[in-house]
């Protein structure tokens, strides 16, 4: 084996392993919590905020940084909305008398 590994191959490795983990973890989610699961995955997919922040990173403003800032705001709606609404729902699933 010679030469450096292409970043694509490294990405693919991470991608495939993450799908496996996701598959096994999600099958263990109790059906009663499928709606909170969707809400929390909404928040997690707000991770696009990381990409958006990198787009807004350069010092000099141009079209790209503005698009990035808009995307940051959109993703932030998901992050905050998703986690908070999940928290609100999960609070309803408390045992009685506690």
């Amino acid at each position: 084996m010679t030469g450096a590994v292409d970043p694509f191959v490294m990405n693919l490795t991470v991608f495939v392993l993450a799908i496996f983990i996701g598959y096994h973890v999600v099958w263990n989610v109790t059906p009663a919590l499928h709606t909170p699961l969707m809400a929390v995955t909404n928040a997690v997919s707000g991770i696009i905020i990381v990409g958006a922040m990198l787009a807004a990173k350069p010092q000099e403003m141009d079209v790209g940084t503005i698009l990035g800032l808009i995307a940051v705001a959109l993703a932030a709606i998901n992050v905050f909305g998703g986690f908070l609404v999940t928290q609100r729902m999960l609070a309803m699933f408390k045992k009685k008398g506690k």
């Binding site: 292409d6 990405n11 991470v14 991608f15 993450a18 996701g22 973890v25 109790t30 059906p31 919590l33 499928h34 709606t35 909170p36 699961l37 969707m38 929390v40 995955t41 909404n42 928040a43 997690v44 997919s45 707000g46 991770i47 696009i48 905020i49 990381v50 990409g51 922040m53 990198l54 990173k57 350069p58 010092q59 403003m61 141009d62 079209v63 698009l67 990035g68 800032l69 808009i70 940051v72 705001a73 959109l74 993703a75 932030a76 709606i77 998901n78 992050v79 905050f80 909305g81 986690f83 908070l84 609404v85 609100r88 999960l90 609070a91 309803m92 699933f93 408390k94 045992k95 009685k96």
Partner: protein, 462 residues
């Protein structure tokens, strides 16, 4: 921060996201899981923030979006969760498209091209995939949002040659994708994005209201794949891992929903079901007889039973009768009646929706049982109260091969000793089918508004 420490921080965040999903295996561990998720997101955001120059502006954008998100999360009604989730999918889709455009605008800033050179060829493919998945998610989710919130008709919109048009657009999109790959410039990129946006609309328009649980799950999955696609473009593991977790979660939910409705995934995607009030629904012309009774009769039957199973459908939520039904079960439990709720996977309008609606009404979750666990117990149950549900208790799914819902898993309500059905009228359900359960000798129909009937039952028992 060095690149290594950034990636190590991302690794911590990724592990926290996995623990978030793992926590949802039980209501008790789920709240801690959600805290893990928030922590993971905070780590990811703060780490990335340290890499940027426009800290002030970015924090401002987060504050604006975060405030909107927090207000919506606080105010949203639980019945409107499907719309909220659909709306949020569209935001992820749009954000993915914007990030892709920014990346293409200035690839050097992302470190995915050397100064003066254009985008690396493998990055072009990834950019193309991330963009079109994002664009389809964006417009598709808007249509799903419109249908779920009633702003658009839930009826499937179909026209001749629809599938051919979609196929043609798909091929054209691919063609411009190849053109973009060969010479990366704005023209093919924008045309390709525009086609993907149109496809999102065209793909979701023909899907009927009854199939929305599948569509919402599917778009959930797409939003994850869009994020993962952008992660490939930017060589960013954080996006790839989090996106894949969401993508596989949505895919599994789509599968579970399809199975619960006995629908092949492709048939759902191709659309048309749920909304055509089929002509055959009018029945075979024979006037069938049914027995109807009052709320007092229902109260008498349930008050004297040893065990009662309540089968709630979305009609219960429409009538806002969740709290009343919880009051009724409390009164029955005090009389020594064993009360449980049987939940069909598609009882609500998204996976697990009915569980949330009952939890909101403070129904203890120990009383709420999933279909597979409770189906064997109907035969030993004195009284089943079906309220706001129809197709999911239709025995035709088991014994009538000609029925459109034949093969769909149902709650075996027909096996119980006595069945009470609360309904507004004899009208058919989503699938537009007649229900033999209503004409059985042991069935008593109670007509009226669900909330009113339940309140009357409470009065009569107490």
């Amino acid at each position: 921060m060095s690149a290594n420490s950034v990636y190590l921080a991302y690794l911590v965040a990724a592990v926290l996201f996995i623990l978030t999903l793992k926590g949802l295996s039980s209501p008790v561990s789920s709240r801690r899981g959600n805290m893990f998720g928030m922590t993971g997101m905070a780590i990811a955001v703060l780490t990335t923030l340290s890499l940027t120059h426009n800290v002030g502006l970015i924090l401002l954008a987060i504050a604006v979006g975060g405030t909107i998100g927090a207000i919506v999360a606080r105010r949203i009604e639980m019945t409107a969760m499907p719309e909220l989730v659909a709306a949020m999918h569209s935001l992820v889709g749009l954000a993915a498209v914007l990030v892709a455009m920014a990346a293409f605008n200035n690839p050097v800033a992302y470190g995915i091209a050397l100064a003066g050179e254009s985008l690396h060829s493998s990055n072009r493919i990834e950019l193309f995939i991330g963009t079109f998945v994002g664009a389809i998610t964006f417009t598709g989710s808007i249509i799903a949002f419109g249908k779920l919130s009633g702003k658009l008709s839930g009826k499937p919109l179909r026209f001749a040659g629809q599938h051919w048009l979609n196929l043609l657009l798909g091929i054209a999109m691919l063609g411009f994708g190849i053109a973009f790959f060969l010479s990366p410039s704005w023209t093919p990129f924008l045309i390709m994005t525009a086609i993907a946006l149109a496809l999102g609309v065209l793909l979701i328009m023909p899907i009927g209201g009854a199939d929305m649980p599948v569509v919402v799950s599917m778009l959930n999955s797409y939003s994850g794949w869009a994020a993962a696609g952008i992660g490939f473009t930017l060589n960013n593991n954080m996006l790839i891992i989090a996106g894949s977790l969401v993508g596989s979660s949505g895919a599994i939910l789509s599968y579970i929903m399809c199975k619960a409705m006995n629908r092949a995934f492709f048939n759902v995607i191709l659309g048309g079901f749920g909304g055509e009030a089929s002509a055959e629904a009018a029945g075979d012309g024979v006037q069938k007889t049914y027995r109807s009774g009052s709320a007092d009769d229902a109260a008498f039957l349930m008050g004297n039973a040893d065990s009662v199973i309540i089968v709630p459908g979305y009609g219960l939520a429409v009538a806002r009768a969740q709290h009343a039904i919880n009051e009724m079960s409390k009164v029955l439990t005090e009389k020594g009646v064993k009360v449980r709720y049987a939940i069909h996977p598609v009882a609500g309008r998204m996976p697990g929706h009915m569980n949330v609606l009952l939890a909101e009404a403070e129904v203890p979750y120990e009383q709420v049982v999933e279909m597979d666990e409770i189906n064997n117990e109907f035969a030993d149950t004195d009284v089943v109260l079906v309220i706001g549900a129809n197709d999911v208790v239709n025995p035709a799914a088991k014994n009538d091969k000609s029925s459109p819902i034949y093969g769909m898993p149902i709650l075996d309500v027909y096996k119980a000793r006595t069945v009470l059905v609360v309904k507004r009228s004899m009208a058919t359900g989503y699938a537009g089918l007649d229900n033999d359960l209503f004409y059985m000798d042991k069935t008593m129909m109670v007509f009226g508004d669900a909330k009113k009937v339940v309140e009357d039952i409470i009065k009569a028992i107490a």
